[in-house]
Symmetry: C2
Subunit: 172 residues, 2 copies
């Protein structure tokens, strides 16, 4: 397979994957393109490579910066802005966890804290309240686990986690 074909395939695949995770397809494609570029790219480069408009490119570059997945750079002598992606995938993973936690988990927890205050007398009320409390416990544990993963600096995080579970599961 030639490089150009391989690049196109990867960009397409990453875009598809993104959309399955609620991420705008173009945003994921821009990210893919920057992940595989040795040099940082300008908005014009990206527009050309992906055949998208200036407005679209700008919007998605902005969103990627907002997610902390890419950064702006200036090239000496150039007036344009250039963009490059964080390429350490463990950092990328941690950054995504961090953002999703902030944007989704924390607001959910607030809502659950409200909802679990419902008065519970009827079976339906009791069931509802119990589920809210279970969810609350679940999200709290998940939050704590995420915090640990986000803080951890090493890629061995998962490796050791796996080894650990391997041992513990013998007790079952």
């Amino acid at each position: 397979m030639q490089l150009e074909e391989a690049k196109a395939n990867f960009i397409q695949e990453w875009g598809t994957l993104g959309s399955k995770w609620g991420i705008n397809r173009t945003m994921a494609q821009v990210h893919a393109l920057l992940l595989i570029s040795p040099e940082s790219l300008s908005a014009d480069n990206i527009m050309e490579e992906l055949n998208i408009s200036r407005g679209n490119a700008n919007m998605n570059l902005r969103a990627l910066i907002d997610w902390g997945l890419i950064r702006k750079a200036r090239k000496p002598g150039e007036r344009k802005e250039f963009f490059y992606a964080e390429k350490d995938l463990w950092k990328v993973a941690r950054q995504v966890m961090k953002e999703r936690k902030r944007r989704e988990l924390e607001p959910l927890q607030q809502v659950l804290d409200e909802l679990k205050r419902v008065e519970a007398v009827e079976p339906e009320e009791i069931e509802f309240k119990k589920m809210m409390m279970d969810l609350s416990e679940f999200t709290n544990t998940a939050e704590y686990a995420l915090d640990r993963m986000i803080q951890s600096e090493q890629k061995w995080m998962f490796d050791t986690f796996i080894k650990f579970l391997g041992q513990k599961n013998k007790d079952n």
Copy 2:
């Protein structure tokens, strides 16, 4: 807050969260409704509660069954089918991991295995190949970790994981 209001809020919130994760909003709402119902519900119940059409209800119920998140039940004497959700949230989480792994991670790995075979001489080719190999390593580790989590039967999974990380991180 009254139960009816609380239920509506929860269903709405779960739907919104779902759509941020690439899950059809109505599908998430049907799931939410079943999560908080002490009794199993018929398609008609669900249509009425959520104000959706029969076709829509049917489609999303099937999808939820397909994801392994709800099941059919028959009530004695009744001809209709009834539906109920798995309510153990740790089981739900594991089931979602299992399905996303199968549907998304495994296909990605296949693609990466192809792409990392690209010939690498030019800097751009070398960068590309390196990223494909990094991604491949990353997804393999993730797959292994997921398998462990999916197999694990206990909710203490995360708790102990956390404790473990807490210790290890002191070495940094």
